[in-house]
Amino acid sequence: MAEEFFIQGNEACAKGAIAAGCRFFAGYPITPSTEVAETLARELPKVGGSFVQMEDEIGSAGAIIGGSWGGTKSMTATSGPGISLMQENIGYAFMTETPIVIVDVQRGSPSTAQPTMASQSDMMQARWGSHGDYEPIALSPSSVQEFFDFTIKAFNLAEEYRCPVFVMADEVIGHMREKIVVDEDIEIVARKRPEKSDDYLPFENIENGTTPMPAFGDGFDIHVTGLTHDERGYPDTNTPETHHNLVKRICDKVLNNKDKICSVKSESCEDADIIIVSYGAPVRSAVEAVNRARANNQKVGYVKLDTPWPFPDEQLKEITKNASDVLVVEMNLGQMYHEVDRVLKDADVHLMGVIGGLLPTPDEILDEINKIGGN
């Protein structure tokens, strides 16, 4: 039987992690994500899992990579200043193809800025934060239910593609309370462990994919390094082909599976002249703005990016093909806007970038719609 809870977004995230099979969390307290850590500190030991409060976020990211190689689904949660510190080890996780989940409950930035206020200013850091070429997967929840669902999905994608997955939430979703429904049957992707064989290669050059990953202690005597490595995992830092093949494969396994990874929802877009594109908390305002506009016979629709990364360019192009104008609503001064603008050649792309910490209201969005409509 499905169970219902009236809980905070951050608690729902923790609940989702446990449902997904997460049994190790390492983190460092930071507003507005701390309730994720607090909930898991309380709940993980009850299901045989472990919680460590690390000395900082660099250590937290390191610890969950270690935990993942220990054979345990592992996660951390943080906010802007913490995600900045984690970038070094996030890059390591991409290079070593380590499945981990990183939750970022975004707050006013840059620097320490606004700990208790909302923003979406880390979107590009999720994309490009660590040095080098890699293709991240990121999910943005716009309700407490989605924070639960997307945390589970993040674990599933991390296992499927053997890579770090971000859950890019924000203070609004992290802190608000709503009802969630927890179904009895939740689809969980278990870690695929390799069969013992002499020709097993832990970093095999498989087209658009990756090989199953053993846990330390499984008897594979595997070497894992952030240095450029061959298919055995041995460092080979000076051969151009080795590096090219490795990094290309790490990118392609995500890029060439975009049709399976990307998730976009839309409404009222078929006949819309103006389409709002948003993700995370601002979707809530966009939906209400569209409902009111439609009640007023304005042809407005909305697109919701469940997976800002990899950027769902094909889906977005298709949905918005009939619109003359696209309005990107986000809580920063223009991050995903540049992606939308890059992809859409036939529509005028406008930005409603709101900073300061408050969720843009439906009225404010309608004002923007009217301004565009009046042009």
Partner: protein, 182 residues
């Protein structure tokens, strides 16, 4: 219909729990939709703090309270600070033991506010013998006055929200609050 409720007071009065109980009642036991939000950071520590709930028959899209239909004030500082957004013809519920409505008389008259007095703190102290259940007394008064949640749902939500072993006292506090607004 969408109803926006703001409960305010000073830190430690259990303002947040009161809001959570309203939201839980509506969404888990009354088959309505609800979103609860609250103030964080320095604002939430002492001083005037607030907790907000949106209750609706349909899905709640925009989750924040902008212009409350109902304002519940449990401290005078919070009353003065948070009354400004109350809707015309809105409902104001105050604890007369901790607030003075005369301080906001002009606003009440100008906006045609309906005022109810629920002496939650006094009732909690005198009838239950526990000042800390004043928030639950207030939930009783809110339930009776506004009918935004049902009495049955409120009782279930209180039982599901308060610490184990304190259910009886809290239900008694709720009943006392409900009776206040007869």
């Amino acid at each position: 219909m969408r109803t926006e409720i703001r409960i305010c007071g000073f830190g430690g009065q259990g303002i947040i729990l009161a809001g959570i109980i309203l939201g839980k009642s509506a969404s888990l036991f009354d088959e309505k939709e609800a979103v609860q939000t609250q103030s964080y950071g320095p604002e939430a520590r002492g001083g005037a703090s607030k907790c907000e709930v949106v209750i609706s028959d349909t899905e709640v899209d925009y989750p924040k309270v902008q212009n409350p239909d109902i304002l519940v004030a449990m401290s005078n500082e919070a009353l003065i600070k948070y009354i400004v957004d109350l809707k015309d013809n809105g409902t104001l519920i105050v604890d007369p033991g901790t607030t003075d409505v005369e301080d906001v008389r002009d606003f009440i008259d100008e906006h045609n506010i309906e005022v109810y007095e629920a002496p939650a703190t006094k009732t909690a102290t005198d009838e239950i013998g526990l000042k800390i259940v004043a928030n639950i007394v207030m939930v009783g008064a809110i339930t009776k006055i506004t009918k935004v949640i049902s009495k049955e749902a409120a009782v279930k939500a209180i039982e599901a929200s308060v610490p184990k072993g304190t259910e009886e006292k809290n239900i008694a506090a709720f009943e006392a609050g409900y009776a206040l607004a007869e």
